[in-house]
Amino acid sequence: MFRWPKPWSKKRGDRRTGSPLLGNMGEVLLYSALFLFGTLSLIVVLISSYLRSWPASHFFPEIYFVETQVTVREKHVEQEKGENVYRAELLVKWLEEDSINPKRILLADELSDREAGLVILDRYQTGDTYPAWYDPSKSVSLCMKQPGRYLFALTLVAVVATMVIGGARVAYTLMDFRTSPERRADLFGRVAKLDIVREATHGSEAFPAIPDVEDISNSPGVLLAYRLPIVQSPLLHILAAALFCLVWICVSAVFIHVVVSGLAHGNLEWILGLITLVFLGLGIWSLRYFWGQLLFAVGVGPTNVEISDHPLYPGGFYKIALAQAGRVHLDRLQLALVCKEEATFCEGTEVRTELRQVNKCEIFTVADVNLCAGQPFEQTADFEVPAEVMHSFRSANNSVQWKIIVEGIMSGMIFRRQFSVVLYPKPDNDRVGQRADRSTEV
């Protein structure tokens, strides 16, 4: 059956629908239109401003203004006939084309009282000379304030930006159209090797696509070589919980007010009442969650994790030290080395991220930990990184992350603190390959 090709594409698993050719053509047409619009607008604006014709003369009259000198002869505030509205005016004389002309200049229109007009006029003294601006082609345009030219400048910037964006995208799409993905990847790799962009990309030259270790190994420890930085501060959790709780309780309060008012007037709406109960339940849950997070923040103090060496290697033995401060009783405290895979993908117009734990090596678990003020829980342990595991990996949409996770349980609630580590591939890899029986020929 014949199907119209679609210019947009959709990815499901390995399958991708749509026509990239049509998509590229659409993109070229769109950006060509943008480029043409920008170019034509720029030409029209520049030529019309040079010729003093429409649209520049209408939209940007201020660009033709020149400075002159005027002498104030009279100043007065006039009341509009039959209305309680005042106008502040100056009567000036100025030299125009070798002749001295009198001219009336309106300084302010529609003032509500006479005093305001007098305040404006106080800036000028009769007989003194002041700078003024006018358009030589229109003597009626004389004004005492220099007209701003920002509108003309902004228009030029917008028009040039439209032209540049449109032109650059057309050039990029046309170039991209005849460029293979391998060549693009090669160009991107070359750019990533430049010093100025290296910080923004992943991996060093020796270990491409492996996260940098410098951020993790730059803090010395007290007991062991390195103190690991925490991945996310617990303060952010508390702030998020507080915000959610606040918003939800406010919404619930509005619902309760409406329902109670209805009840007071003998007009109870059952459906609204049920919805209010649901909102109230969620509000109470969010309050409890926020309270739990607050208790953790107050009761469970800072967590310090130190490690004997970094980066880690598969099959390597390391020492780790945990110091957990606080003033609570923990039912259980666990330290583990965990590996998670993270994948970011587009689903429709949304960008989603999926995280999956694929490996967990328990380092130690302690039951019934009493944390007292000034006496943090401290424990040092040895652990081995499994020999046959994947190293840390990070690219734009996919990653393999290794973390030390401290997990505690307090009255049935769990708190978790994560510390990133980087796992390098096994050093001095022996030749792991075996000779294949046949060579591959395609």
Binding site: S180, E182, R183
Partner: protein, 132 residues
């Protein structure tokens, strides 16, 4: 009219180690060699799985018709590269990293033909699949 690409990894192994030399050889068979515009050979990794595809090129070589002897891209050509330390081939649950050597032939008409040979870098992938 299709171009045929005879492409192979010389002395191919099941698994390659970092720093090992990868040698590839290809030959393009096409009835009208003058219509060939360019041939690109690359060694690269790409991701598969749940996330959007990422790709990075470790080795890339583009041969244009104007720059080769006899102006003929059909001759057998060999290229080689030292494999990097990372990323190693990996078959995880939602992230997979695949290595391959690839040859892409471009015709003057704009058409292109592709041939690739996958290979495994490092032994992580093999061990994980054995665990399963």
């Amino acid at each position: 009219m299709n171009a045929t690409i005879r492409f192979r990894i010389v002395d191919r192994q099941l698994v390659y180690s970092p720093d090992e030399r990868l040698v590839c050889e290809y030959e393009v068979q096409y009835a009208a060699p003058d219509d060939l515009q360019a041939v690109e050979a690359s060694v690269l990794w790409y991701t598969e799985g749940k996330g959007d595809e990422d790709m990075a090129s470790h080795f890339f070589e583009r041969r244009m018709r104007e720059n080769v002897v006899d102006r003929n891209l059909c001759h057998c050509h060999r290229f080689e590269t030292l494999l990097p330390h990372s990323p190693l081939s990996y078959f995880g649950e939602i992230v997979r990293i695949c290595w391959c050597a690839r040859v892409r032939v471009f015709l003057r008409s704009g058409e292109s033909f592709l041939e690739q040979v996958p290979f495994q870098l490092g032994d992580v992938a093999r061990k994980r699949s054995r665990e399963r």
